[in-house]
């Protein structure tokens, strides 16, 4: 049944009020922005003085309409490339980019999106430092006044992370709201390893192996037994690993690769290790088994019992990936439908 006149008017009035409220809030916040975020958005250079300057190769397509919003700063290139690469940007405007730049403008005007951008950059930093992300930190450092919109902002930010970077935000602790950021793309060790990380990885893989082969939970003594065999001792400084005890009980735990806790009711206290959430996310039982097999100059299937378990783990992961893909496809379809219908309004 179509809505009566009165209820339509009431709804319209309500919407108008809410919208006006948001606008007022946005204006207030915009004033705050300038001080809080210090040159937020103004550092997207508004200085057009270098117009004869050649534009760097990676110039975004739509630059004509809002020169002040164009991120591609000509004066920040450290020096001129060549004078023949003339400033093509301004003259290159296609009609098709004018609609996308309009959408861009609208995107930028929405005050929530400013927070989305800030949160994204916060998350990118966390990704690079492989730190745990907590809701508390996000609220404190980024979201601030917009805490009522936290879920929406987080949703949009993680959507961008996925789309642009192929990085997933995974909630590992729903009660305390802890998240980790994991690449959806299987980045190999070769690709990502920086010089400082490399030693820790080797050590980590061994420890993960011992844990796996101890039934997925290993007493600390077992770990040291194995490490001692290769010359790594708890109380001796190691030329590569430094302080091995600190590395496995603190550093790798902090990075969420390992879990280290006291065996309940143990007196004197004994400790045990398990895989941490990041280890589960970034590697697999099969990969760890492959690593161990290499050390023994053999193949994973030589370790039949653990090979079985690793195979099962691989199957489960494949199923989970397929389910995720189906979910993403379904979401994309429904989102496409939604945008289609919003266009036809």
């Amino acid at each position: 049944m179509p809505r009566g006149q009165k209820s339509k008017l009431r709804a319209r009035e309500k919407r108008r009020k809410a919208h006006a409220e948001m606008q007022a809030q946005a204006l207030r916040d915009a004033g705050v922005f300038a001080t809080e975020e210090e040159e937020f958005f103004s550092s997207a250079p508004a200085v057009p003085e270098d117009s004869p300057q050649n534009v760097p190769a990676a110039e975004p397509p739509n630059t004509s309409q809002e020169p002040q919003n164009t991120p591609s700063s000509t004066d920040d290139t450290t020096t001129a490339i060549s004078c023949t690469d003339s400033n093509e940007g301004a003259s290159k405007e296609d009609e098709e980019t004018s609609t996308s730049s309009k959408a861009l403008e609208n995107f930028r005007r929405d005050p929530l999106n400013k927070k989305v951008v800030l949160l994204m950059q916060f998350l990118l930093q966390k990704y690079q430092s492989k730190e745990l992300v907590t809701k508390a930190d996000m609220l404190k450092f980024v979201i601030k006044k917009y805490k009522n919109h936290f879920n929406e902002i987080l949703r949009r930010a993680s959507g961008h992370m996925e789309l642009a970077f192929g990085i997933d935000l995974k909630e590992v602790d729903p009660t305390r709201h802890y998240y980790i950021l994991v690449s959806k793309l299987d980045l190999t060790c070769d690709e990502t390893m920086s010089e400082e990380d490399l030693p820790k990885t080797g050590l980590l893989m061994i420890v993960l192996g011992v844990i796996f082969m101890s039934g997925n939970c290993a007493p600390e003594e077992a770990i040291w037994e194995v490490l001692n065999l290769i010359g790594i001792y708890a109380d001796k400084n190691h030329i590569i690993y430094g302080d091995p005890r600190k590395v496995i009980t603190k550093d790798l735990v902090q990075l969420n690769y390992l879990e280290y806790h006291q065996v309940p009711n143990s007196d004197p206290p004994r400790y045990e290790f398990q895989w941490g959430p990041r280890a589960h996310a970034e590697t697999s039982k099969m990969k760890v088994l492959e690593f161990i097999a290499k050390i023994y100059d053999t193949v994973p299937s030589a370790f039949s019992i653990w090979y079985e378990e690793a195979l099962q783990d691989e199957e489960e992961r494949a199923r989970a990936r397929a389910a995720a893909r189906a979910r993403i496809a379904a979401n994309a379809r429904s989102r496409a439908k939604a945008t289609c219908s919003s266009h036809t309004k």
Binding site: E37, E38, E39, F40, S43, A44, P45, V47, E49, D50, Q53, P56, A57, A58, E59, P60, P61, P71, S72, S73, D75, D76, T77, T78, T79, A80, I81, S82, T84, S86, E88, K92, D94, L104, R108, N113, V117, L118, M120, Q121, L124, Q125, K126, Y127, Q128, S129, H160, A164, F165, G166, I167, L185, L187, D190, E191, T192, S194, E195, E196, L198
Partner: protein
């Protein structure tokens, strides 16, 4: 003049992988970037022909644009090698370092930055930087620690070290150039040719204008009698060679740039 409009293609996993890896390295030189693009292409076994690097980057930037992030291309100040960095445009530049460094370390960087910008040569000596250790905000830092922090800055490609002196890495100039110009408007030097921020360069003894070494190279290319563009006096310095990407940089590349390669060769 290139004719065709630069249209952004679709973002695929090839682009995403590239982006993640570029982000990991902070900044990469062009030939490293080309190899990275090739590698990402191969990993995904993509049958599509490999895009030109420019277009590849344009595609990525079109997606990043609304997020105030960009892959920016610049040129190294010492010998004009093209360099790419993922640059964050929406927050104060030092915040990018903020997650990796403590308050006193960031302040050390700021002090070093100031000394470098103020200096005549674009270099600040280790001694001069370390002498400022007592003025740092935050926890007290000893000179020994400060030396290590400076090395961390070099490893993370914020500073370059040459014979005990420090200058800014091209990445820093790309990422923080605008911020530096705004923060130190009086001390900052500008290249007379490209009008970009100048840290290292050559200057005219007579009228004092400055030029980047690569800008000098281009401007005076095959000119037997180089003269200052401003006052017309003879240019008093040796004119460097224009960077030639064909002369493969496997040889004679500065140490700081080899690091990104080493870790891949195991």
């Amino acid at each position: 003049m290139q004719g065709s409009a630069r249209r952004a293609g679709a973002m695929t996993d090839v682009h995403r992988r590239f982006l993640q890896l570029l982000m990991t390295h902070g900044a990469l030189e062009e030939w490293d970037v080309q190899r990275l693009q090739k590698h990402c292409h191969e990993v995904h076994g993509s049958n599509a022909p490999e895009e030109k690097l420019e277009d590849f980057i344009t595609t990525i930037n079109s997606v990043l644009e609304s997020l105030y992030i960009e892959i920016k291309k610049g040129v190294t100040e010492d010998d004009g090698r093209p360099i790419y960095a993922l640059v964050n445009l929406a927050t104060t530049p030092i915040s990018k370092m903020a997650s990796d460094f403590a308050e006193n370390e960031l302040d050390l960087f700021r002090k070093a930055l100031e000394l470098i910008v103020d200096s005549e040569t674009g270099f600040a000596s280790s001694t001069n930087i370390l002498n400022l250790v007592d003025q740092l905000k935050g926890k007290r830092m000893r000179k020994k620690e400060a030396e290590q922090v400076l090395q961390k800055f070099v490893q993370n490609k914020w500073l370059i070290e040459k014979e005990g002196e420090f200058t800014l890495h091209s990445r820093t100039i790309l990422e923080m150039g605008q911020h530096i110009r705004e923060t130190y408007p009086d001390a900052v030097k500008i290249c007379d040719i490209c009008h970009g921020l100048l840290i290292q360069g050559q200057s005219c003894d007579t009228c004092g204008i400055r030029m980047h070494l690569p800008c000098v190279a281009k401007y005076f290319q095959s000119n037997p009698e180089p003269r200052c563009p401003h006052c017309n006096d003879y240019w008093p310095h040796r004119v460097p060679e224009v960077f030639d990407p064909q002369k493969e940089p496997e040889t004679g590349v500065s140490k700081s740039n080899r690091k990104s390669l080493r870790s891949r060769q195991h």
